[in-house]
């Protein structure tokens, strides 16, 4: 039982990163109709900016984080304003264009900072003690790492639900034309959504080195990105809570599978990654727009 709790908690840590990436993806998708694979590159840009400020320029953590967030917001806006505005509505090619951007940006980071991981890690001031809850000893670091994404995604959801800006974003997500009719500046809302999506991605990028205890590298987000997208698609690309839940669920399922799969099965090529892609195919067959997604209804 103690094992199970520990495995689920680790699943929540990975799942939290998936949820952050998935939430940014869904926000951007709902508002601008672009599936943003470049989310992974934005995450890497965030991690590298923060690392560089901290380790190469001796900036304290909080200003470094603030600077990274502002920079990412601008980068997201620029991507939408210059490149992706032209693609609005062209679902199929937006996937490919952002995939191309992902490759280019990751390559750019590789050229700027080198491909081999830097000696000094991107370290966050995390507690390293144990938290005793009854008979379970839980790692405080994992608890904090699991809590940060939950807070961020929760704040986003509350903001969307209860603030005026949130209401305009939801209006654009429902119908861009209708929103324009009631006087909402749709282009600005899209810019903002891209900016916020980029910040969420950056948060994921900054958490990844601590969650996986590996050094930063240009392609470090890629494995997370695929699972996050799978989670978002399983949850439903047009439902933000659905996508976030999909991300967390997937993290837990992956961890449970890799912990409890007997080795004979693993030798057959069935591991945590195979299970999630099989799950993805199964869910899409049953519900083509994801579990929480709105089924497509069209009139002739």
């Amino acid at each position: 039982m103690s094992d199970l709790v520990q495995v689920v908690l680790s699943g929540l840590v990975t799942g939290g990163i998936y949820a952050l990436l998935a939430a940014g993806l869904t926000l951007i998708f709902q508002v601008s109709g672009v599936v943003n694979f470049a989310q992974g590159a934005l995450a890497a840009v965030g991690a590298y900016t923060c690392w560089s400020l901290e380790n190469q320029h001796d900036v304290a953590l909080v200003p470094a984080l603030a600077f990274t967030a502002c920079g990412l917001f601008l980068l997201g806006c620029v991507m939408q304003a210059i490149l992706l505005r032209r693609l609005a509505g062209d679902l199929a090619s937006s996937v490919i264009v952002t995939l191309g951007l992902l490759i280019v940006l990751e390559g750019g980071i590789g050229i700027a900072f080198g491909y081999s991981p830097p000696a000094r890690p991107l370290s966050l001031p995390l507690p390293d003690g144990q938290f005793n809850l009854g008979s379970w000893a839980l790692s405080q670091q994992e608890l904090v790492l699991a809590a940060i994404p939950a807070l961020l995604v929760g704040a986003l959801l509350l903001g969307l639900r209860y603030t005026r800006i949130g209401a305009t974003v939801r209006a654009v997500a429902q119908s861009a034309r209708g929103a324009r009719l009631v006087g909402i500046r749709v282009d600005r809302v899209r810019l903002g959504a891209w900016g916020v999506g980029a910040i969420l991605a950056g948060a994921a990028g900054i958490l990844i080195p601590s969650a996986s205890t590996s050094p930063i590298s240009p392609g470090m987000v890629d494995p997370y990105l695929l699972s996050a997208f799978t989670g978002a698609v399983i949850g439903g690309l047009d439902s933000l809570p659905g996508a976030a839940v999909g991300g967390w669920g997937l993290g837990i399922i992956q961890n449970l599978v890799s912990y409890y799969t007997p080795s004979q099965v693993t030798n057959w090529g069935i591991g945590k990654d195979t299970v999630i892609f099989a799950l993805l195919l199964a869910v899409l067959m049953a519900r083509p727009t994801g579990v929480f997604g709105t089924p497509i209804q069209r009139r002739v």
């Binding site: 996937v95 264009v97 191309g100 390559g107 491909y115 695929l226 030798n267 057959w268 090529g269 899409l284």
Partner: protein, 337 residues
């Protein structure tokens, strides 16, 4: 009274025949002057990927569905060929069509359930399939496991092909594929694909069977990817699927490169598929010491083509011509739309 037979009638009917033959003969001479490293690095992959891109362009350009999983079919073809020829000793000319059929069966099996999916959902489902295939083949012991599969040089009678002379086989398969795909695309089937891409409602109102044609396009592209995979197995001589989800032969990077070939060559252009395959392979060969730069270059070319010049390489002459004409028109003071 019988009209005198025009000896050039065949030329009128097929004006492309002479240039095509000339191109074929020119290409067939290439192995005579090629070194092994040039054949392995450029000639063989360019031919192999041209076959794959021809099929993939029917799916992506024709029906407008972006598949991110065709490296999976490529891997299925390659491992079918590898297992059949090493474990069972089948000759390569039997193995190649069989690999196509096996990949085609998987294609039909995946094409049916993904029929209802649109845009990003379709891309994600195919991506999942591709990674699933790569993971299973990379870990499964019957597919060579961590040691991989080593193939013998393909033999025809007493003759043994090497990396250079196998290009003739690839060229033959590619020529036949080009002929078939060209006819398919410019016949009723190809028009049905395009009708479905432009508006599936209108197409269905005209009596085009949506499910049948979508699955057909998917299956054809899978068959050609499988055939390309089996050719790859034969000239590469070694199949290694460990770490394959991230490998540039069978993993996601390969699927992205395949899409790049189609997009850069020119969506829905038959000759463009070949141009794209040659272009991407040339980039990879030219930058083989800096694979990350090669990847960046074709990532950038996808973005540029999809955002700026949708015709790709095949549409380049028309684009240059239009630009030149507009420029000249401006010079003479004529306004043009």
């Amino acid at each position: 009274m019988k009209r005198a037979k025009n000896p050039w009638a065949w030329f009128r009917r097929c004006p492309w025949l002479l240039p095509a033959l000339a191109a074929l003969v020119t290409l067939a001479c290439l192995p005579l002057i090629s070194t092994t490293s040039f054949a392995v690095g450029f000639l063989d992959p360019a031919g192999t990927y041209a076959i794959l891109a021809l099929g993939l362009n029917l799916l992506i350009g024709g029906t407008g569905q972006f598949s991110l999983g065709h490296a999976g079919f490529f891997a299925i073809g390659a491992f079918t060929a590898g297992i059949l020829s090493t474990n069972y000793g089948w000759p390569f000319w039997v193995v190649i069509p069989v690999a196509g059929v096996v990949a085609g069966l998987f294609g039909a099996a995946l094409g049916l359930p993904t029929l209802r999916l649109i845009g990003p959902y379709f891309s994600m489902a195919t991506l999942g399939f591709g990674l699933l295939t790569a993971e299973v083949l990379g870990a499964a012991s019957w597919a060579g496991g961590r040691t991989g599969i080593t193939l013998n040089y393909p033999q025809l009678g007493a003759y043994t092909f090497d990396e250079v002379s196998f290009f003739w086989v690839i060229l033959g398969v590619a020529a036949v594929t080009l002929f078939l795909v060209w006819n398919l695309r410019h016949g009723a089937t190809g028009r049905a694909f395009v009708a479905l891409r432009e508006s599936d409602f209108a197409a269905r109102a005209c009596g085009i069977h949506l499910a049948r044609y979508r699955v057909l396009a998917f299956t054809i592209s899978a068959v050609l990817a499988g055939i390309a995979g089996s050719l790859f197995a034969n000239w590469n001589g070694f199949l290694d699927a460990s770490e394959s989800a991230t490998s540039s032969t069978f993993g996601l990077p390969a699927s992205v490169a395949f899409v790049a070939m189609v997009v850069v060559g020119g969506l829905d252009s038959t000759l463009g598929s070949i141009l794209g395959a040659v272009f991407i392979t040339a980039v990879q060969y030219w930058l083989q010491d800096r694979p990350e730069l090669a990847e960046m270059l074709y990532g950038a070319s996808i973005v540029i083509v999809l955002l700026g010049a949708k015709g790709g390489l095949a549409g380049l002459p028309a684009m240059v011509y239009t630009a030149w004409r507009n420029l000249r028109a401006r010079g003479t003071g004529e306004a043009r739309a």
